[in-house]
Symmetry: C2
Subunit: 283 residues, 2 copies
């Protein structure tokens, strides 16, 4: 059997009882470690599970499906994923490869940021399409996510922005030399995301002033380490968000829709550094 087990978002104890029982009995356990991270590392997980865990990096997951699934017709193999198993396309693909090999698959769900973002008080039923914000480089500054945020905003829907993670990315130099050297891991912060959004707003506004419907004074919600004991939520204007430091990763950013339900405003106000300012931002 091939088990795909969600670990949730915080620490080792966020695994479900069902998930933990399966992990303990499996022959091999892989930990997917490049689309997301927990607040604890491999060692803490191994101590908690009382067994060894194999790190599945990007190369192994994307081109080593045969290795991961080896003997899973007879043996029990678990593949652990931070959040919920269906958060990333690569995991869906792995399940399909298992089924092709006639390996039985069982999924153990858990919280993902897609639903846990509800903790900021904006109603889950009022979110539109999720967007991913990539880390810009000097020469690569894609901005297509902006249009999706605006579409959501104009329909009165909130946008959850997932922020870029770079783990085990080969350096450009190493790609050219065909010898793998990896860049240090990099996790985008809410400040960086807000800063990129502000740059896009500035450019778009120059092009066509009235097309832009969010501005530097629009409401933004920054979230850090959702589901962990030191989770942080911060509510302020987009321009102020570009200067805040919410601490260690993972971060995500929410751009609320053009109007809020009174209960949403009341909930958000807990996290506003300046409640009077929040009133103004709320329209």
């Amino acid at each position: 059997m091939f088990y795909v087990i969600g670990l949730g978002l915080g620490d080792a104890k966020d695994v479900t009882v069902k998930g933990l029982e399966i992990i303990k009995k499996c022959d091999r356990v892989y930990l997917e470690a490049y689309t997301s991270i927990l607040t604890v590392g491999k060692q803490k997980l191994e101590e908690f599970y009382g067994r060894s865990v194999i790190i599945a990096d990007r190369e192994l997951v994307e081109s080593g499906a045969d290795e991961i699934l080896e003997n899973a017709e007879q043996q029990d193999v678990a593949f652990l994923v931070v959040g919920d198993p269906f958060g990333a396309t690569t995991h869906t693909d792995l399940v399909l490869r298992a089924k092709e090999k006639n390996i039985k698959v069982q999924v153990v769900h858990n919280a993902s940021i897609i639903n846990a973002v509800g903790c900021c008080g904006l109603q889950l039923y009022s979110y539109g399409e999720v967007v991913s914000i990539p880390l810009w480089t000097e020469t690569w500054k894609p901005d297509s996510f902006y249009d999706k945020i605006i579409e959501n905003y104009q329909r009165g829907l909130h946008t959850l922005c997932l922020l870029d993670i770079k783990v085990k990315e080969p350096t450009l130099e190493s790609i050219l030399k065909k010898k793998k050297v990896y860049m240090p891991p990099k996790f985008m912060s809410v400040a960086e995301a807000a800063d990129q959004l502000l740059q896009i707003i500035e450019n778009k506004t120059k092009e066509n002033e009235d097309k832009s419907s969010i501005s530097s004074s629009s409401l933004a919600v920054g979230l850090a380490r959702v589901g962990s004991d030191d989770q942080k939520i911060f509510v302020c204007s987009l321009s102020k968000m570009s200067k805040v430091d919410l601490g260690p990763p993972l971060h995500c950013l929410v751009i609320p829709g053009h109007s809020l339900h009174p209960l949403e405003s009341e909930y958000l106000s807990q996290y506003a550094d300046d409640k009077a300012e929040l009133e103004k931002l709320n329209h």
Copy 2:
């Protein structure tokens, strides 16, 4: 401390290790039992937890916040919610009432249908706004959810349709007589939801033929008991969906966007009763 603990979607063992530890040590534990249900009842949960659980019905949750939160400044009180704590407005409200009373609040997240719906293979990042489909009566047939499905569809986004649940609803007669008599619990099936959608499509098409962009032959995904051992996923046309029986509750329905990613089509085809038909439905 006031703990709000998500139980996930399947059975007792879908609680997280963190959640279970808290439940065991609390002075009082409430189980919210009207916005959703597990595949197991109160008794199974009590056996698994090794402690008693108080059922919190609609009346208690909506008007008994003081009772639930009593002494939570000194004592530990847990409020258990099927799925994730932030799925329903009433839970958000309860957290706000706790904070007003200066009671500390801790949330333990878990899977909700909002993310677990990923199990059908449609990418979570390609869902638009979630809609709720209410059970129609003879005289009350609201259809505003249809426009949201169409908006999502036309943007290429999938729609998760949550289906109506009626638990402890007073009968009309009992409201008039001011003596509470409750209707038997009622959980909407995918067939009922598909049937209501077909009726709306028929009416809308009469009004203005080309406005309608989903039809009786559009693709639909029916899901039942997501996260449990006997979970069922069924992929067919909307008209066929109005005749299928996916068994006991809870059900939900997904209307995919106007085009699918190849990996999404491949994944869905596992659940199609007629793969050749699926090809046609896929556009």
